[in-house]
Subunit: 131 residues, 2 copies
């Protein structure tokens, strides 16, 4: 079996093939999913797996140049924002309205659903290149 | 969104449709997957989600009359066996060789892969009826 990193076969395939500027949407359990893009549904039950566990796994395997969150997350007092920033330190942060984030998600290469039950725990990751 | 229970859309569909005597195989991250059955790949990275978290979620939603494990698990000192028995108390336990469990998995309605990294953390659940 694979020695380390992401084990989910579909997600591993997407990350292996992602190009510069393409995006991945990592979502809480309730974010609406665009109908025309690939979905990797990792949600088991509410809270499992957590948003940050999935973000961490993806960021360790895929180089990111920018991440986009909802402005509504900036105003929340959940642990998600500091955890996300710790995960993506030295990466440019951008905030748009939750409505705009939903629009942006339609252009993502893949929509990754977690079991997270924290409002606005969604992030659009923009891939960079490693050379 | 769904109020409670299993959120994974494919897994929820399988459980909603399962009939008496049909089986579900819940596996660690390394169990070989038969090629002709449905796969729900929940594995994120090693250890996430855990075997027992996924078993618990499925057992809460689906009535089970028997569970089958590998005899090799009986001889291990991992936490998996007592956790599994606690999860499935009052349900008949059956043990077969790991080789036989792999054969039995070919007849499962679905193969659910977790991120579990404990040897022999695999179980075949046989569905009962609720009436």
């Amino acid at each position: 079996m694979k020695r380390s990193g992401i084990l989910n076969a579909e997600l591993a395939a997407v990350i292996a093939g992602i190009g510069h500027g393409q995006t991945i949407l990592i979502a809480d359990a309730g974010m609406p999913r665009p109908s025309d893009i690939a979905i990797v549904d990792l949600a088991v039950v509410l809270g499992c797996p957590s948003f940050i566990d999935v973000v961490s796994a993806i960021v360790r395997e895929c180089s990111i140049e920018k991440y986009t969150i909802a402005t509504e997350l900036l105003g929340s007092d959940s642990e998600v924002l500091p955890q996300l920033r710790a995960c993506l330190e030295d990466t440019a942060e951008e905030a748009v309205s939750h409505t705009d984030l939903k629009e942006l998600s339609k252009g993502a290469l893949v929509f990754v659903r977690t079991g997270e039950a924290t409002p606005y725990a969604n992030v659009l990751l923009t891939a960079s290149v490693v050379f």
